[in-house]
């Protein structure tokens, strides 16, 4: 397998076509469709960020809402208090998240907290931080933090104030960058190290890999990427509440797409986000016809179960096979 066929021609064409279609989408799509697409891309982006840690390096984090929240609050609070441009806020958020990630990583990996225990450690940190933010007045505590709304008609990219279309292109760019970044990571030394650790940590260790360092790199990269998603949420929503941004629900939502799509694969998070959103929307429509609230969620649970039962590896490996895109392994 050479670099050239890491992405076979057919797949490259497919991807470029997809990208072109997405880039042209605002011309055709209405605001509703656009907001759905933003949801999809945001979920795909966050899923890819989580995938670095879990899918590539095999470290199960159930508390990624922590990094979403830190990124959102760092960017949001700096902007709300000092008018700091989001790009600077993004940097701050990435640093804070990376630090938080390395604290959790150091503690978890050094003390050999593994598997489910590690996952619960990450939840504990996220919940801990949620309660902390609930009481931190500078960021509005539980009353929430509000970003000033601009009334200018023009999009202001540098301050991330503007129309849905602008936000759409921002998240499209972020998702595309995350995809390319993930691909680059997988094709590099660290990517191979991660996969080795994911498959068998002891064997990886015996091959001279600095396992601790590799895992730390995964956590830090994943946390920083996730925090950027948080920043997007902050500026897109304009208001932040610890209760929702740090919630376990968000952590779960964030990884659901990736697991459904195909954990550890490059395209899985994207496919999973599309599939889940489509499922959600379809169920909303069906639910509206049945006319009982809650049917949607039940059907959602059932669908999830069915996918897990029949495609535990996710949809993408299966679909890739059906589409005969198996040229590269991923």
């Amino acid at each position: 397998m050479t670099a050239a066929n890491l992405l076979s021609d057919r797949r490259a064409i497919l991807l470029l076509g997809l990208l072109a279609a997405l880039a042209a989408a605002p011309l055709a799509a209405g605001d509703y469709a656009l907001s759905i697409l933003i949801t999809v891309l945001l979920q795909a982006y966050l899923g890819m960020a989580w995938n670095v840690m879990m899918g590539f390096a095999g470290q199960f984090s159930l508390g990624h809402a922590l990094y979403v929240g830190l990124g959102a609050y760092a960017g949001g609070a700096l902007f709300a208090h000092f008018g700091t441009p989001p790009l600077v806020g993004a940097l701050a958020g990435m640093v804070v998240s990376a630090v938080a990630g390395s604290i959790i990583g150091t503690l978890g990996f050094r003390f050999k907290v593994m598997g489910v225990y590690f996952a619960l450690l990450t939840i504990a940190f996220a919940e801990f931080t949620r309660v902390l933010f609930d009481h931190w007045n500078w960021v509005g505590a539980s009353s929430g933090l509000f970003l000033p709304v601009s009334h200018s008609v023009n999009d202001d990219f540098w301050n991330l104030r503007g129309s849905a279309t602008m936000f759409y292109y921002v998240i499209l760019g972020m998702a595309a960058a995350a995809f390319l970044f993930s691909r680059a990571l997988l094709g590099r030394r660290i990517g191979y190290y991660w996969q080795a650790i994911r498959e068998d940590q002891d064997a990886a260790d015996a091959l001279g890999i600095d396992v601790f360092r590799a895992k730390m790199v995964a956590v830090i990269i994943s946390a920083s990427m996730t925090s950027l998603g948080g920043l997007f949420i902050a500026f897109y929503n304009n208001n932040l509440y610890p209760e929702s941004i740090f919630s376990m629900h968000r952590s779960i939502e964030l990884m659901l797409g990736t697991i459904i799509g195909g954990i550890g694969t490059l395209f899985g998070p994207i496919l999973g986000a599309v599939a889940l959103t489509a499922l959600g929307e379809a169920l909303t429509v069906i639910g509206a016809h049945i006319g009982i609230d809650g049917v949607k969620q039940i059907a959602y649970g059932v669908c999830l179960m069915v996918i897990l039962a029949f495609r535990p590896g996710g949809l993408w490996p299966w679909l890739r096979h059906r589409l005969r895109l198996d040229g590269g392994r991923r």
Binding site: K112, F128, G301
Partner: protein, 289 residues
């Protein structure tokens, strides 16, 4: 704040902690034997609470009288769930198991929501407003009842594992599933019984907890998390550990609520969890993995 005040607070924390412990017992039993982390734990408890509520409002059955019924029903539920669904997923990776039980949780929560609506329900016993006064100590009557009930159920569970053949077989299964299979134990059935017993514990806990708190469908995830904190504190798979963890969380909530700020008390539970995970990852009474 005087000594009596602290004694009151501590005793309330202890009593609530025992019920928490019972709830966590179910989680601990299931993990200890099958290595399955039951993320639908809180949801099962909410179902038990609603069942108790129905038995009380429709048939006038007191929660303590309803307890065997509810526990029995949950046993059957757990048994069937394990047989039909979870058994297929025993060997798979953790995150798939997690998602599977999550989807079970989503379904349960929303079925409950559809059937009972989102309102909080509670039952009103005469005892609900009464309390025992032991000198300066004021003990909430239902809290005492619930704690004693939890203690009894825990003792029963211990006796089950200690003195019955099935209980011993399950313990053998937990220690060495391959060996258990070799000596001819029906491991699948034992797993189902285990899941049933774990669920029955949750059922009993739900019954007793309804004396103390109001039930609504969205209570479940809080209790799932709380259950995890408790079993990890005590040690996953350790029965005594679950009770100890429950009491610890009850106490830490009580004391941090008094000494610092009540709204920060969950943070202390999580803080305690982080501390224990780092200092003793297997939990206070847990065995080394």
């Amino acid at each position: 704040m005087d000594a009596t005040f602290f004694m009151n607070v501590i005793s309330a924390g202890l009593l609530t902690g025992l019920v928490y412990g019972l709830m966590a017992l179910g989680l601990s039993v299931i993990f200890g034997v099958m290595r399955v982390v039951n993320f639908a734990h809180g949801d099962m408890m909410v179902v038990a609470m609603y069942a108790t509520y129905l038995l009380y409002t429709k048939l006038g059955l007191q929660p303590l009288a309803a307890l065997p019924l509810v526990a029995g029903a949950l046993f059957v539920f757990g048994y069937v769930l394990q047989r039909v669904l979870i058994n297929r997923f025993l060997g798979v990776t953790e995150h798939i198991q997690f998602l599977l039980l999550l989807s079970v949780a989503i379904i349960i929560t929303n079925v409950v929501l559809m059937v009972f609506g989102p309102d909080a329900r509670n039952i009103q016993l005469d005892a609900s407003f009464e309390s025992y006064s032991l000198g300066p100590l004021v003990l909430d009557k239902v809290r005492v009842i619930a704690a004693v009930g939890a203690g009894c159920v825990a003792a029963l569970l211990w006796a089950f594992f200690r003195y019955t053949t099935t209980g011993t077989a399950i313990r053998a299964c937990a220690d060495n599933p391959v060996g258990a299979r070799v000596v001819g134990l029906d491991v699948e059935k034992l797993y189902a019984v285990t899941f049933g017993v774990g669920s029955a514990c949750v059922g009993a806990a739900g019954c007793l907890l309804l004396l103390l708190v109001d039930v609504h469908p969205h209570l479940s995830s809080d209790y799932t998390l709380l259950g995890f904190i408790i079993v990890i504190l005590g040690g996953l798979g350790s029965l005594g550990g679950a009770l100890l963890g429950g009491v610890l969380v009850g106490l830490s909530e009580a004391l941090s609520g008094v000494l610092i700020a009540p709204s920060l008390k969950t943070m202390f539970s999580f803080g305690l969890l982080i501390l224990v995970l780092l200092l003793r990852p297997q939990g206070i009474l847990g065995k080394k993995p």
